[in-house]
């Protein structure tokens, strides 16, 4: 033992004793301090507090604010507050709680699954309180209740304002919905403001604009008797009662066009898919559709456990916002953008041709990158390559450009990062680069970028993934020939009292300036050829249009086909079928609308996605809708 100090057991015992006594004294002293405080409160100031306690016969009742109303671009109401009948149970008036609840289940006014939760809710509240057990009854349910009312003492109807979405499922992925406030929700708002508010924005605009829509809560004082019952008849004779009026939330005016939205959703039909339509000159989003949809009113009126489970377990994932959160390989829809990158980099001219024999190989490699057309397109220039969607042309172009140059020009158009639309949850997809690959993979050997990976990026496959919103956003630059705007759903915020609207200026992003502005028209011409040219891939969908459409089809592979195999549409399981894509703007010369369509496992962009876009264009530009 090198220790110099020697352990002195008795010394330590003595030290402890001294310290323990000191600690006991300190404890006694501090507790006496509390005692002194009690003496001050209860003896010296007793009268003062006794008065205040009497004053507490006045109870503060919260007055929730009216939630802001949401209008579409034509002033149609998309989300409003309507009086809702809610079912309440007052325990002390119910002779037999279990029997009453069972009866309500029998009348299909409650669901068996919800009973344990409701029973617990009831027991936790005071006997005389009317506790809401269902937040919104429809007319049939109100009728059923009315008929059986005499069997249900203690069960009453009460009205309150509840959120209602008149268009139901239409536009739900943009609007979002409100639902009961959870503990997590309270962390992102000031809980004091939600005293008395029953619901809060959960997704979409309802969530993103919560702070504007909600407003500020108020309160009023009511007299209560010794048991806490409100004595409303005394209300008028008590001038001292304070009231603080709630401040209603702000109304939102959207860029969304609900009629166009409805048409887009109808055109998508039973498919899983997404449609984005935006005004390229402002970034206004006119359509943000994702199917399948669901009814937000279910959430607003308190969704039942069974309904919620049905939504979350549906293999088609109706709650999933494909337009913002679905990331897909963009496929051939980015070929015009690749061509633009090639022109801008100076590696290729509009009239330079390439011979397509049906496949492409890299120097010193035998791997065949196949064209969608087995026999090849022959000699194609840029316009023909875009028009016929020749893969070989773009394999070669991508190989010449190299992945980092591709990355830089596509990143300028918004790939690889969220567009910044004004609702939450948007994904940024992946715009690959050598840099990206280093950080995306942990294993060293995976971090190297292979030339073959560049080749398939040329046709929008490989690591590249993008959301439908990103596709529309990038295509918008072609429509405007340079100017670029951040997509947005809210155009103006309106004060509900003065009815004054505060317009929000479109948010301009850095415009894309080309070395040679003539390149714009090269690309747009090629895209017009897609819908009008002799071998254009979208000719059928654009037939008979009274305006010109610049578009590009895309067919994105979900799984890869081996070197010798053949992709056979009929035998491939539905979930492994290709995604169908289409991006377009019209009229090509003076574009008013950009549309991006994605149909999951839809097959071909030309036959499935393009007709959907056509219907949206017709409705918007001509005001006609013929399904």
């Amino acid at each position: 033992m090198r220790r110099v100090k020697v352990k002195d057991l008795f010394g330590e015992q003595r030290t402890f004793q001294v310290r323990a006594i000191l600690a006991a004294l300190a404890a006694a002293l501090l507790i006496s301090l509390v005692g002194a405080r009690l003496f001050w409160l209860q003896v010296v100031r007793h009268d003062y507090y006794a008065d205040l306690s009497q004053g507490n016969r006045v109870r503060i009742e919260p007055l929730p604010p009216d939630r802001g109303i949401i209008y579409d671009r034509q002033g149609r109401v998309l989300a409003e507050n309507t009086p809702a009948y809610q079912l309440t149970v007052t325990r002390e008036q119910v002779p037999d709680l279990d029997a009453t609840l069972a009866r309500l289940v029998g009348l299909e006014l409650l669901e068996q699954d919800d009973l344990p939760r409701i029973r617990q809710l009831l027991v936790s509240r005071r006997l005389f309180e009317a506790v809401p057990v269902r937040l919104r009854l429809d007319e049939n349910e109100v009728g059923r209740y009315a008929v059986h009312r005499h069997e249900l003492p203690g069960v009453d109807l009460a009205t309150r304002m509840a959120r209602h979405y008149p268009f139901g499922p239409v536009g739900v992925h943009a609007l979002g919905y409100v639902g009961s406030i959870s503990e997590d929700d309270l962390k992102r708002v000031e809980p004091g403001d939600y005293f008395g508010t029953a619901s809060i924005g959960k997704t979409g605009l309802e969530r993103a604009y919560e702070n504007l829509l909600h407003g500020a809560g108020g309160f009023r004082e009511v007299l209560v008797n010794a048991e806490g019952r409100s004595m409303q008849s005394l209300g008028d004779s008590s001038p001292d009662l304070r009231i603080s009026r709630p401040v209603a939330g702000r109304d939102l005016e959207l860029s969304l066009d609900i009629e166009l939205q409805r048409i887009a959703e109808e055109a998508l039909g039973e498919n899983r898919g997404a449609v984005i339509a935006l005004d390229p000159w402002t970034g206004d989003v006119l359509v943000l559709a994702s199917t399948p949809t669901f009814d937000p009113n279910k959430f607003a009126r308190g969704i039942s456990t069974a309904d919620y489970r049905a939504l979350t377990s549906d293999p088609d994932q109706p709650l999933f916002n494909r337009a913002l959160r679905g990331t897909y390989p963009p496929g051939s829809t980015i070929k015009p953008l690749m061509a633009l990158a090639g022109l801008e980099a100076g590696v290729i001219g509009p009239d330079d041709t390439r011979f397509c024999r049906g496949f492409f190989t890299l120097p010193n490699s035998r791997h065949r990158y196949r064209d969608w057309k087995k026999t090849g397109h022959g000699t194609v220039d840029m316009k023909e390559a875009v028009m016929t969607s020749c893969d070989v042309y773009f394999y070669g172009l991508a190989a010449t450009l190299g992945i980092d140059r591709i990355h830089d020009s596509m990143a300028r158009l918004g790939f690889g990062k969220p567009t910044g639309i004004d609702i939450e949850g948007e994904r940024g997809g992946i715009m690959p680069s050598t840099e990206w690959k280093k950080s995306a993979f942990r294993q060293r050997e995976m971090q190297v970028w292979f030339p073959g990976e560049t080749v398939i990026v040329g046709i929008g496959q490989g690591y590249w993934s993008a959301t439908p919103l990103q596709l529309a956003h990038a295509t918008a630059v072609l429509a405007t020939r340079g100017p670029h705007f951040k997509p947005r759903l809210v155009r103006a915020v309106r004060d509900p009292v003065t009815r004054e609207s505060e317009e929000r200026a479109p948010q301009a992003l850095e415009p894309v300036v080309l070395k040679d502005p003539a390149s714009w028209e090269v690309i747009v011409d090629a895209m017009v050829a897609v819908t009008t040219g002799p071998r254009g891939t979208a000719v059928r969908a654009a037939r008979g249009a009274e305006y010109s459409i610049a578009g590009k089809t895309g067919t994105a592979q979900v799984f890869s086909v081996g070197q010798q195999e053949k992709y056979d549409e009929d035998t491939v399981a539905e979930r492994l079928k290709d995604h169908a894509l289409f991006v377009a703007f019209a009229p090509a010369e003076q574009p008013k609308l950009v549309v991006a369509v994605l149909v999951e496992n839809g097959g071909h962009g030309s036959s499935v996605a393009a007709p959907i876009a056509r219907r949206v264009f017709d409705a918007y530009l001509l005001g006609t809708d013929a399904p």
Partner: protein
């Protein structure tokens, strides 16, 4: 064993059957009596504070049963084992805190609970006992008072779990755990120059700590200074609890008759603010009775700590006794408006399971430790 041999020779007197039983179970009669009376008082008050909610009351009674069982079991564990197991308990506790922090990161929110499927518990609760035990374990076979270096090691033992708990964020528990460790250090005979230097440092660091606090925590400190500034928000608790206490007067409004509590003006009346219900319904006398009981428990525990045979036993017991005091003081101080609102329950009275079990487990450990009697100079 040596300890019991000493003990018996020292306490040869007329033993009744009851005290023989207590001795056999390693229990201390006076402490057990004080704890029982306090718990009974607590249940009585809780019934009223919960507005006569029998379901809630029964749940608490069951928890009390679990807590008493934990105390009885731990009292039987030989002190030697407790000491040997201490590092393992401490390490397991820290590990669980890290796991919980990881889960919290995934869930993007405050995460204090570990869900084992059949039971959920807060690892930070373990640390309330593990930290003082670990400090005592470390100091046990070193010559005391601890050197500067050794003191730093003890501080590290305290700081690691405290920071993890603070990050959860759970300021109240972090403070209690830190207090438990520091108390052990003080009881071990920490030199006064360190004590003063430490206090000075803490005072200097206070402005820094202000920046570490969450907004709502800062607001609580500010509203303590001026509760009226926010009568519907953070100040509401303080105002309403003072009205409840003040209006109770000397004798109170009577059990189940407090209008503040019964009309639900008083928030958290069955948990953190139950002391105000006692003030309103049972008056100054009821509150002083409870404070007296608490002082009795603290005094008796310190006495038992002093009776322990070795340094480990003394330090752990003393730590448990004084941590209990910190609980009492922080809660009653907060409810009476002399300390800011920190989420600390009133020991043995507030509704809530985990803290009750931890407290009683602590007293079980204390009784186990003192059943090895101390050395006497012959």
């Amino acid at each position: 064993m040596m300890g019991s041999a000493f003990g018996e020779s020292r306490t040869r007197r007329n033993v009744t059957a009851g005290s023989r039983l207590l001795r056999a179970l390693h229990l201390d009669g006076p402490l057990l009596l004080l704890l029982s009376v306090t718990c009974a008082f607590g249940l009585l008050v809780l019934y009223s504070a919960s507005g006569g909610n029998t379901g809630l009351w029964l749940r608490q009674a069951v928890r009390l049963g679990v807590a008493v069982a934990a105390m009885l079991v731990l009292a039987q564990v030989p002190a030697r084992f407790l000491r040997i197991l201490t590092p393992a308990i401490y390490a397991a506790g820290v590990l669980l805190l890290v796991v919980v922090a990881g889960l919290g990161d995934i869930g993007k929110g405050a995460q204090r609970w570990l869900d084992l499927g059949f039971v959920r518990f807060q690892p930070s609760e373990i640390m309330k006992l593990a930290v003082p035990m670990m400090c005592a374990w470390y100091l046990h076979d070193r010559a005391l008072p601890a050197s500067f270096g050794e003191t730093l090691v003890v501080l590290a033992i305290i700081l690691v779990p405290v920071l993890l708990i603070f990050e959860q964020p759970d300021l109240g528990t972090a403070l209690l755990v830190a207090a438990a460790g520091i108390i052990v250090l003080l009881l071990s005979g920490l030199q006064w120059k360190f004590v003063f230097a430490g206090t000075g440092l803490a005072a200097a660091a206070a402005p820094l700590a202000w920046f570490l606090l969450h907004d709502y925590q800062r607001r609580r400190v500010l509203t303590l200074l001026d509760p009226q500034s926010d009568p519907l928000g953070a100040g509401y608790h303080i105002i309403q609890s003072q009205i409840a206490i003040g209006s109770g007067g000397v004798f109170g409004k009577g059990w189940m008759n407090g209008s503040q509590a019964q009309l639900e003006f008083l928030p958290e009346r069955s948990t953190d603010f139950i002391f105000a219900v006692i003030g309103e319904e049972l008056g100054l006398l009821g509150q002083l009775l409870l404070l007296g009981l608490y002082l009795g428990i603290i005094g008796r525990s310190l006495y038992l700590a002093n009776e322990c045979r070795d340094t480990f036993g003394r330090l752990v017991s003393g730590g448990i006794a004084l941590t209990f005091f910190v609980y009492v003081f922080v809660n009653t101080g907060m409810v009476t408006g002399i300390l800011p609102v920190v989420g600390v329950p009133l020991p043995l009275v507030s509704y809530g399971g985990t803290s009750m079990v931890t407290l009683m487990a602590g007293f079980g450990i204390l009784m186990s430790l003192r059943s090895q009697r101390k050395l006497v100079r012959t």
